[in-house]
Amino acid sequence: MFTPFAYIQPGSVEDVVTALGDKNAFIHAGGTDLLGCLRDDVFSADKLVSLSGLKDISGVSETSDGGLVIGALTTITDVAEHPLIQRKYAGLAQAAADVASPQLRNQGTLGGNLCQKPRCWYYRGDFDCLRKGGYKCFAVNGENEYHCIMGGANCFIVHPSDPAPALVALDAEVAIVGPGGRRRLPVSELHMPPEKDPTRETVLQDAEVITAIHLPPAAAGRYSSYRKIRTRRSWDFAVAGCALAFDMEGDQVRDCRVVLAAAAPVPWRSREAEEVLRGNTLNDGNIRAAARAAVADARPMSNNAYKIPLFEGLLREEFGKIVSA
């Protein structure tokens, strides 16, 4: 049950930023994650600052250079179903379509999705864990089948977002407004590695808010995709996933991005896999080598070594699709 909080609905981004300066204030966008966290006592809020009073913060539009800008308050459904996104940034549309359930996609926003809290059952549950300011990560000696196999350090969550890896693969940036003004940041730098700060999910400063997501123009011959494996087919987070963006010339890989979901506390770019494939032919041998390279440095926990063959099989399947596409 909620503890009491104040609720305001500013009419401008500037007022939102000002309001977020108050003690223990949180942004309320779609609310699908926020309200759950508050109800479950993951954290409490003194003030919720709604973004629903803002204009021009949702919707999809083309930019003059041939890229796209997606307002932060655009729903996941709108991202999944937008014809331009489906055509030019298929990996993002696929990732959005794989998020949660239809109800949650209708309510959840792209900006909120990037800023969501992890689903770790220790973080969400009645455990005084490191991420909540406690003293340890309970997953280390606990039930860690859904936890990370890379990038763990001190906290072993996996990042829960599907669109985030796709946006990293597509070299997207977020537009941020805060007390210090406006700035842009690559999505690949948005998420906070736990060794730097296990209590934050993003590098956003206090009172900063994401207002838009910018996608650069897609190169000709660009292939992008998102693939998610879960233990049930809807309303579930990934146990393994991958976002791909490949620029092909025939069967030659000119450039590529391979980003893993549910592998690490942040969307995990596999430079090892990219290196095997970049400039090379996408044949069976290279595909196997790249898939293996992606998990070569994995450090599984007691119950999640299954993720190694799973990512390997997943990547083999997804790389193989590029050839036949």
Partner: protein, 768 residues
């Protein structure tokens, strides 16, 4: 031998069924029925769909308070002190009860093994009650919970049933963690294995599964002077009434329990729980009605589960497929109190197939986790997982078709319940008709597929222990002057369509539409005693009583018609909705009966008569499944499933099919998505919400689920020819899926659930 059996002259005899009652043993309906057997939408479909149905959790009363419960967060802890002083001072808080309020802390025992209190000083599982509050809003009630300070002394715990049996394991209760031990044998197991050409032994594990009904567990309690009324989400209002009366030391007559609707239960609401007592206590102290529903998380933590089970099965067969020996050892966890951790666990092993030499051994175990509760086909679902995979493995070893192996070992009767013959050949019919409808032979012969997507088919069969129903049940039918009827019965409709089935029985007897029947049910003050709706026995228990009530009322109408027409009583025939003379010269519609016009109502009382004791009245089932496995990712896609059931007469084909589809869906969850996860280091439940505890979604069940009923009426079962269906529909699903996965991959998945997390490692090992 059961108590009702007598040995006479060296032969087992069974008492004759008692006299069939005043109305005489009626003729069966026969093959031509008007309403029975059709597809009837639920009589309360509009209420359910529109939201106008008032479930117990919807009940709002003037001045009603909202309650919340503080539960122990520890797997095992002593409660040293509870300080509720801050909570009591909060605005809007009307009552706080805990172990400090002695007059609101009655004795309570979870089983009969160890006594305790409503708020006990030793909480042996996470979720046991520590305090409860009532406030003028749910928010304030939860604010008050946060203000209660409890000092616990945490104690060593054990949450794994195998670890609990190891020496040196923490003891849940003094005296060891074995909660019960049972064994059974027939024939000579050693000779049976010696006679076998093939002997296999495997160990299987079935994870704990949670019932997770949509409507949480709870009730609304209201006192009027010394009378207590409780609206509870329950499978049996009379079971709730007796437990409350016993706990509060009240006369039954002063406890009224109403449960018109229940938003799901699956066995977890057969009995009440501490919440009903806490609600009554809070209501008495606050002098207001109190609503107490557990939170979703609390229902997962402490409101029931199917016990985790480890099963070792050893089976032998001759080359021709004849089973020669079955040895079954099962270990199941009751939880912190004795609660049927191995209930019915060995029955499929000793009773599904013909086998002369069988031995079984069951060990029930205490662990520091919530007590188990019956969950749709308790024991059978787990045993089927082991037994039906073992049959599949035997078939492969014998180079036989799994269908053929099963057909070869069909028993004529129950072997573990006194060798009584079955009333039907239902097991054979289910397997044969199901295989044909599924296209088993063609599907099995079809290639697995190329590349990394591989297909396979599997099947499993089942019977079910209860499903026969029986006394007691009393039903009252009121037939009004306009020819409409009011049916009064104590049983609950737990969402299975009980009310609709009963309305159809009445409609069949009186030639009316089901819509003309109003049902009053599940109210201890106004309806007659009924046992809880569970065990798949509600239709075979209640429907015969309903038919008898109809026949009793019809008898009186026929008396009236005879008097009115000046005929002999035996000249009057009930034909459809009219009473006519045997010579066909005169007839009357029910509203034309002069005596009925004057007295306004005719009442018929029907009682459930005992079953025949010389036969075994048993429902049967078989299921068939086709899967596709992605060898690279371990993803499985259920392409199609088919369920055949022999449960006697199909009364409502629509709700029958609903049971089959729902049962298979639940079995899909058991086999592929669901498992309780208890944290190793703390014993606390990890997956306590509907994201982490994964019920299957529409995308996880096959797009094609076909229900293929065996069309027969089991006339030896009872006077409507129907047996229970709700549990047999979910027993074979897990085994059928596991067998199909084996056919697709060659991997025998011995542990539930099967999904990418568990399947990818064996697949990767196969790749080498």
């Amino acid at each position: 031998m059961t108590e009702s059996e007598q040995e006479i002259e060296g032969q087992v005899r069974y008492p004759q069924a008692p006299d069939a009652g005043a109305a005489g043993d009626p003729q069966p309906w026969g093959e031509k029925t008007r309403v029975v057997g059709s597809r009837q939408p639920r009589v309360d479909a509009f209420e359910r769909v529109s939201g106008s149905a008032i479930f117990p959790s919807d009940v709002m009363l003037p001045g009603m308070l909202h309650a919340a419960v503080l539960t122990s967060p520890h797997a095992n802890a002593r409660v040293k002190s509870v300080d509720t002083s801050k909570a009591e001072k909060l605005s809007g808080v009307y009552a706080v009860i805990s172990r400090n309020t002695e007059d609101a802390n009655p004795d309570w025992d979870y089983g009969s093994d160890y006594p305790g209190k409503l708020f006990y000083d030793h909480c042996r599982f996470e979720g046991d009650f520590v305090a409860a509050v009532a406030a003028d809003s749910s928010y304030r009630a939860h604010d008050a919970l946060r203000a209660i300070e409890v000092e616990y002394e945490t104690l060593p715990f054990v949450s794994d049933e195998l670890a609990a049996l190891e020496s040196g394991a923490p003891e849940v209760h003094d005296g060891g963690n074995e909660a019960g031990h049972q064994s059974y044998s027939r024939g000579n197991i050693e000779q049976g294995f010696a006679a076998a050409d093939v002997v296999l032994e495997e160990t299987y594990r079935s994870a704990s599964e949670m019932q997770t009904p949509l409507e949480p567990h709870g009730c609304v309690a209201r006192w009027e002077a010394d009378r207590l009324t409780v609206w509870e989400s329950t499978q049996g209002v009379f079971a709730v009434q007796s437990k409350i009366a016993e706990t509060l030391n009240m006369p039954l007559a002063r406890v009224r329990v109403i449960g018109h609707y229940v938003g799901g239960a699956f066995g977890s609401k057969l009995r009440t729980d501490k919440y009903a007592i806490a609600a009554a206590m809070l209501s008495r102290r606050s002098n207001r009605p109190v609503k107490l529903f557990m939170t979703r998380e609390q229902t997962l933590v402490s409101m029931g589960n199917r016990p985790p089970t480890t099963m070792t099965i050893k089976a032998g067969a001759k080359k021709d497929g004849t089973l020669t020996a079955i040895q079954f050892k099962g270990i199941g966890a009751s939880g912190a109190y004795k609660a049927g951790g191995t209930s019915l666990l060995d029955w499929l092993a000793k009773d599904l197939y013909q086998c002369d030499n069988v031995s079984t051994e069951l060990t029930d175990v205490y662990i520091n986790a919530q007590p188990a509760r019956p969950f749709r086909a308790p024991g059978y679902v787990q045993c089927s997982w082991a037994m039906e995979q073992m049959m599949d493995a035997l078939a492969e070893q014998l180079d036989m078709d799994p269908v053929a192996l099963r057909l070869l070992n069909i028993p004529d009767g129950t072997q573990a319940r006194g060798n009584k013959p079955y009333t039907t050949d239902g097991l054979r019919l289910c397997i044969e008709q199901g295989a044909k409808a599924f296209g088993w032979d063609q599907a099995k012969a079809a290639p697995r597929g190329n590349g990394h997507l591989q297909r396979g088919v599997g099947m499993a069969a089942a019977n079910w222990f209860v499903g026969d129903g029986g006394p007691p049940s009393t039903v009252i039918l009121r037939l009004y002057a306009d020819g409409t009827a009011n049916l009064n019965m104590g049983a609950s409709d737990i969402g299975t369509g009980t009310k609709t089935v009963m309305a159809m029985v009445v409609a069949e007897e009186f030639g009316m539409e089901p819509d003309a029947v109003q049902i009053e049910h599940a109210d201890t003050a106004t309806t007659q005693f009924a046992t809880p709706s569970g065990g798949s026995k509600t239709v075979p228990t209640e429907a015969p009583a309903v038919r008898r009530a109809c026949l009793a009322a019809k008898d009186r109408l026929m008396d009236m018609a005879a008097r009115q027409l000046g005929r002999e009583r035996d000249e009057i025939i009930f034909a459809g909705d009219r009473l006519r003379t045997a010579d066909g010269l005169e007839s009357l519609a029910i509203p034309e009966l002069d005596e009925l016009k004057k007295q306004k109502v005719v009442v018929g009382v029907g009682e459930r008569q005992p079953n025949r004791q010389d036969v075994s009245i048993t429902p049967f089932a078989a299921q068939f499944c086709e899967v596709e496995v992605n060898r690279r990712t371990g993803e499985i896609r259920l392409l199609r499933m088919l369920g055949t059931n022999e449960s006697g007469r199909v009364i409502n084909r629509l709700t029958w099919d609903g049971q089959v589809i729902g049962g298979i869906t639940m079995g899909v969850g058991y086999a592929t998505t669901e498992q309780r996860v208890l944290d190793g280091p703390t014993g606390k439940l990890c997956n306590r919400n509907w994201h982490d505890y994964k019920l299957p979604t529409a995308l996880d069940v096959p797009a094609e689920i076909i229900s293929e009923p065996i069309m027969l009426s089991d006339e030896q079962a009872n006077i409507v020819g129907a047996k229970g269906l709700g549990e047999p529909v979910t027993i074979p699903t897990g085994g059928a899926i596991a067998n199909a996965v084996y056919a697709a991959t060659g991997i025998r998945m011995r542990d539930t659930p099967i999904n990418p997390v568990t399947l990818i490692d064996p697949l990767a090992s196969q790749e080498g």
